[in-house]
């Protein structure tokens, strides 16, 4: 690439130089990739090692392998991890459905309908993307406490049905703007109402953006610690992140193997999503700065 024109002048020499350069690039990229993954691979390997070996054997491969970390870890707290997985899944499911419905409605209004003071609401919506959660959390806690919602899943789900993740509104607006205007005219000629157009034309075409929204909502909610830590105090309602952290507290340094086993399990759904929806994820991440 760099030797594009020079190559015609002195083919053989530049091509060896190019070869060496490519080889070096591969080497750096490969070593970097291994370094990036090493902590994860180490955790995976530690989760299969007996407790007494984890910190004494340096290598990834151990003489002794065991699955007991997984079985013992699963039942190490007062409730089995299946409870925490179910709780996390329920919250994620609620958040995903909420975001898809509410954000697509708001995005449709901003992108395709003409109404009074739209520009004002649009600016407010954009401004709310930057609002740090920590500024809202104290009053939200007081509000949810008054409503009796602390120690329920509602604080994590209800706001999503009210389009509070403005980032996804923005993402969908971009997408709807890309749909041809002729669609609107054709629909109008066919006697399709504004509501019908949303339901029958926009939503089906919006599916890729809805998938991106669903994936990122799932991953963010799955990994979210701050809100779940604040609103869920009853162990039967713990989600995976809160349960992992309480695991650390309860067992201290005595059961790293189990801790790692449960940590590995907690990451599996995210990794599965990544593998299945790689295209949407990487696209979303590289075009709009969506972070995992």
């Amino acid at each position: 690439m760099i030797t594009g024109l020079a190559g015609t002048r002195n083919k053989s020499r530049t091509s060896t130089r190019r070869g060496i350069k490519r080889l070096l690039t591969y080497l750096v990229v490969l070593v970097g990739a291994i370094a990036m993954l090493y902590p994860l691979i180490w955790m995976l390997s530690a989760s299969f090692k007996p407790q007494d070996v984890i910190f004494t054997s340096t290598g990834l491969l151990s003489q002794k392998w065991t699955l007991s970390n997984y079985f013992d870890g699963w039942n190490a707290l007062d409730y089995p991890f299946s409870t925490f997985f179910t709780n996390s899944l329920l919250i994620c499911l609620g958040a995903v459905i909420g975001n898809i419905i509410s954000c697509s409605m708001a995005a449709y209004a901003f992108a395709r309908i003409r109404f009074k003071y739209k520009i004002l609401w649009f600016i407010l919506m954009q401004g709310s993307i930057m609002l740090p959660a920590h500024v809202l959390i104290v009053p939200q806690y007081i509000l949810f406490k008054d409503l009796g919602w602390v120690n329920t899943f509602l604080p994590m789900i209800v706001p999503k049905f009210l389009a509070t993740d403005a980032f996804f509104i923005f993402l969908m607006i971009q997408f709807i703007r890309g749909l041809p205007r002729d669609l609107d005219d054709a629909a109008k000629l066919d006697g399709c109402s504004i509501y019908g157009f949303y339901w029958r034309v926009v939503l089906p075409l919006l599916v890729p953006a809805l998938i991106t929204t669903a994936i990122f909502t799932f991953i963010w909610t799955w990994s979210d610690f701050f809100t779940q830590l604040i609103f869920l105090n009853d162990e039967s309602l713990y989600t995976i992140p809160v349960a992992l952290r309480s695991f650390m507290d309860n067992t201290g340094n005595s059961s790293y193997g189990q801790l790692f086993a449960m940590s590995v399990l907690s990451l599996l759904p995210v990794i599965a999503f990544f593998i299945i929806f790689q295209r949407y994820l990487l696209e979303g991440a590289s075009t709009s700065g969506l972070k995992g």
């Binding site: 690439m1 760099i2 594009g4 020079a6 490519r22 690039t25 591969y26 990229v29 970097g32 990036m36 993954l37 902590p39 994860l40 180490w42 955790m43 409605m105 708001a106 209004a109 901003f110 003409r114 109404f115 520009i119 954009q126 930057m130 740090p132 920590h134 500024v135 809202l136 959390i137 104290v138 009053p139 806690y141 509000l143 009210l162 389009a163 509070t164 509104i169 504004i194 509501y195 949303y198 990994s223 610690f225 701050f226 992992l244 650390m248 507290d249 790692f260 940590s263 990451l267 995210v270 990794i271 990544f274 790689q278 990487l282 991440a285 075009t287 709009s288 700065g289 972070k291 995992g292």
Partner: protein, 326 residues
């Protein structure tokens, strides 16, 4: 790609469209039935968002401002104390520790993360075999990094018998203390954790680097420019909007980091407050000690800090960010 410029474009687009709408309206005395219908439909579709805005955003922002001028511990009514909380803040050594720790974290981790992201993106953009795989591998830490599981892992990696000390041991450096309980290095481990997650800005750089026309590099090559010159005179100027975008995004995120500090320090912010992130201190005061008024005042401090830093970034962008369409 450059979201700021597209945002600007959108805003003007909406404005012109609205103006056109107004023009049509002023021609006639009353609204046409269609306009009325659209008006109603617009607000119907925005209804959930409106409720959310009022109940979960605007309401809390304003009441947190009010609470910041009161003493409130969830029992009884908030007591008005004027600017007392803000004065307390300025005399609170823990608050200053939190400010210091957070600023160091932001100022060190954000640029390093962006430099790594750009370097790896430069290597990857050369069209390697297995590009897709490498891209995915480098992105995975970004995807998982914010989770409690990874923070727990980090805690162990840098512990007394952790992988880091084992590796150092193997090359002859014997360290028998834990990095995370050493006040000199505890914050550094969190900075490394943040840098490890450079994958998401890297993907944005990769997308941006593809947009640079290859003719520019070809022209530079005929003029005999070497790789370094090409990097600094073509690549960097061409992607300043992306550097800017990544910088703002990472900065806003770094100011709000919570999970790693909470998990690695066990909620204490220790040793000696060296990992007391600002958000962690808000959490301790608000939800540990139920000083809701004080926590609100600190939260407003964070809001102002983020606003100031973001505006400074936007102001400085005039001098170093080049948009092609200008």
């Amino acid at each position: 790609m450059s979201s700021t410029s597209t945002k600007l474009k959108e805003r003007t687009e909406i404005k012109t469209r609205q103006r056109a709408g107004h023009g049509a309206k002023s021609g006639q005395q009353s609204h046409t039935p269609l306009e009325k219908k659209e008006n109603i439909a617009g607000y119907v579709f925005l209804l959930p968002w409106f409720v959310g805005l009022i109940v979960f955003m605007a309401g809390p922002v304003l009441s947190s401002l009010y609470l910041s001028f009161t003493n409130f511990n969830l029992i009884g009514a908030p007591q008005w104390t004027g600017i007392q909380n803000y004065i307390t803040m300025l005399h609170d050594p823990n608050w200053w520790a939190a400010v210091r720790v957070t600023l160091i974290y932001v100022v060190v981790s954000v640029p390093l993360k962006i430099i790594f992201a750009l370097l790896i993106a430069m290597l990857l953009k050369q069209g390697l075999y297995g590009l897709g795989l490498f891209r995915a591998v480098y992105y995975v830490p970004s995807l998982l990094g914010g989770s409690v599981a990874i923070a727990l892992l980090w805690r162990e990696l840098f512990d007394t018998n952790g992988v880091v000390n084992q590796a150092l041991n193997a090359i002859g450096i014997h360290i028998t203390t834990s990095w995370i309980s050493n006040p000199h290095y505890a914050l550094a481990t969190l900075i490394i954790l943040s840098i490890w997650q450079f994958g998401s800005p890297m993907l944005i750089f990769l997308a941006g680097l593809k947009q640079i026309p290859p003719e520019y590099y070809e022209a530079a090559a005929t003029d005999g420019a070497n790789a370094f010159r090409k990097f600094f005179t073509i690549t960097v100027p061409m992607i300043t909007p992306i550097i800017f975008f990544n910088m703002v995004l990472q900065m806003v995120g770094a100011f709000q980091a919570f999970t790693p500090a909470y998990v690695v320090s066990d909620g204490t912010g220790g040793p000696l407050n060296t990992t007391l992130f600002y958000t962690l201190y808000i959490y301790q005061e608000g939800f540990g000690l139920l000083h809701m008024g004080y926590a609100s005042a600190m939260a407003w401090g964070l809001l102002v800090a983020i606003a100031v830093f973001t505006s400074l970034a936007f102001l400085s962008s005039r001098y170093w960010v080049f948009y092609q369409d200008r």
